[in-house]
Amino acid sequence: MLSYTLRRILAVIPTLLILIVICFYLMRLAPGGPFTSEKPLPDAVMKNVLERYGLDEPLHVQLWTYMKNILLHFDFGPSFAQKDRTVNDVISHGFPVTITYGFWSAVFVLLCGIPLGVIAALRHNSFWDYTMTGLAIFSQIFPNFVLAPLMVLLFTLWLGLLPGGGWNGGQWAYIVMPAIALGTSYMASVARLTRGSMLETLNSPFIRTARAKGLPERTIIWRHALKPALLPTIAYMSPVFVYMITGSVFIDVFFSTGGIGQDFIDGAYSRDYSMLLGLAILYSVLTFALNLAVDLIYAWIDPKVRAGL
């Protein structure tokens, strides 16, 4: 298991390097630069600005300097748009915010999605099943950019219960709406996925055996059926959690949380190269780490997988 983990970590290094190089050159292909503006800078001023940020060097030199700074000093460079700040600084401010409501959103997805799916499967083809399935489909067709304004209308403007945005150091009232708006459609997927796999598990021979042995229904479901039924859900959750964090751009902008999603958008518009690259690296490392975590959890749950490592 340990050597497996180490092998996986080692394999990611060349992947990351290739990714940085590709992203680095791709960004430069976009017309315009960080200092292109409606009022074009006079040549002498532009020269000073480019020199200050090292953008006057040939591209491969810039790339080399960038790599060196990351490896030797863990320095991802200055932000070109937020001139008083570095990329490290911006990410260390925004990432905790995004990951906090991303985490609560994931909790919401699992705590609502799994029970909904399990209940629907246990009461297969009953009123409960139809209600749950209906609810799940309903949530899935509501994208967050429709759901979020509706929630704000209801909870902020009409009921006056929750603030319409902001973060305020991460008080719960500021987390509720972003977490729910972000998670709802994933919650629906989880519910449907759980329902399907639970149904399949409940019809498998080992459950029939358990029933034949006369085990109480509760033990059958909790001890024997739930664990294997959750495998597809867990596999699904890893990329979803990354999507939830990286795909939370809309939530960050709409609820003004101060999370990194806003930086990703702004970085693209303002050609803030170092910011974009920094975030791309962060997202890739995150994707890799969560994939690894899921594989390990999988191995822990499923003896067949464990044997194969």
Partner: protein, 540 residues
Amino acid sequence: MTRKSILLSALLSTTLVAGAYAADLPAGTDLAADQTFTYRVLDEFSSFDPQVVEDVEGANVVRDLFEGLYNQDADGNLVPGVALSHTVSDDNMTYTFTLRDNAKWSDGKPVTAGDFVYAWQRAVAPELASPYAWYMELMSIENASAIIAGEKPITDLAVEAPDDHTFVVHLSQPLPYFAKMVTHGTTFPSPKWAIEAHGSEWTRPGNIVSNGAYVLTEHVPKERSVRERNTMYWDNEHTVLDKVVTLVIGDDAQALTRYRAGEVEKTDIPAGQYPALAEEFPEEAYALPRLCNYYFTFNMSDTGPEAFKDVRVRQALSMSIDRNVIVDQVLQGGQFPAYTFTPAATAGFEVPDVAYAGMTQADRDKIAKELLAEAGYGEGGEPLSFTYLYNTSDAHQQVAIVASQMWKQKLGAEVTLENQEWKVFLENRGAQNFEMARGAWCGDYNEASTFLDLLTSPSGYNDGKYSNARVDELMTTAKSSQDTQPLYTEVEQILADEMPVVPVYHYSTNIMLKDSVEGWPINNVEQNWYSKDLYKVAGE
């Protein structure tokens, strides 16, 4: 105060009109108990460093945190800031400012002329590489250009501090509106000791030392910033607002919702919603004239279409645009139909009579058809077709669609609309890689040359590459002339004759501002506002 009287008072070395600064409370005002003003900004600020900041919202904060030589009052007139008055030498090339002796930094140190020398040198320093270094060049400070180009050391900048309360500036050419330019953030003083102690982190709350009416006490990037009353400020006793909070809200509609919920007290009105909001909140919705224009620019360089080289074609396209339809029916935000390049709101500028402004639209349409036929295009001639390029945005798209329909119906022109992402658009327009493109300009200072200089041959912003020797000559003369109106009138008339650009409208700012907030400078066309001039009244 008009520009003329500033000059007059300056020449006579009199003090500027005092009294109109600081919150101007009518007797018996019932102030609200909580003097916290919260407003919405669209984006995170570019910086709080006066010499580095480049965005408008950032400049608004910097104007609260730092105080320059002069401030503006509610009408945009100059009032004393750190400087009480100034004198100008006979050749109009040397300005001597007298600074007040009671101005203090937030750490208690006195504000001296040396702080201005340091800041102005900093603004042009190649190491700092401020994008706004060009502003110092525009101010015509002697040696500024050479220092930016790296040819001279920053100590050669022609600014001096003979004593702590005298600040002297030498110009490379007379500049009649020089005094007006010192209300800009780039010219504000900066605290050398704090910058040296904290380096690039000197603007963080706790590190920052400032001399304005407020100090920065909290800053969460992309979420909020808080500035609170600076007790060391020389006029602190007349300041009313205790605390000013900005919330970053990237979505216009969401900002309006949060305004309705009472979370912010000022926000921008989303495009197209002004009429409805003005009806719903007659006391809170404002359409304020703004120092910006909106125009279509013809590519007159070699890469441009042959048709646009014919003045009759340009005239016809301009005449056939019904500006009232665009303003009243499409934009609906209190904008002004434009027939001149310079907005009417510009200080000291009288809109000259240009022939086509006085005609009815029916007459204009008739002339347009005739001109196009004469040029050999349209009905019976060669079909006129071109591409109109604009940057992606709903509002620009609406204007583009309406304009192209007008051209099609009236002149039979086939116009292809093309939109591009902002920076791609700028790159293409700047490289003359377009046929006709959208243009817009906001004044850097409140004087007509900030607009008209754009259409001179050497201007780096003249993307249509229009060139007229007489315009260049008039604008050069205007730089040192005391009576610029006749010069600007002639330039505008040449522009109306040759039509290198089609003026469409002059902007307005549409804002929602709570009834309880008083003192907003609605007549200041630059919308340079100071929190120290605002106050909140108790609700009835």
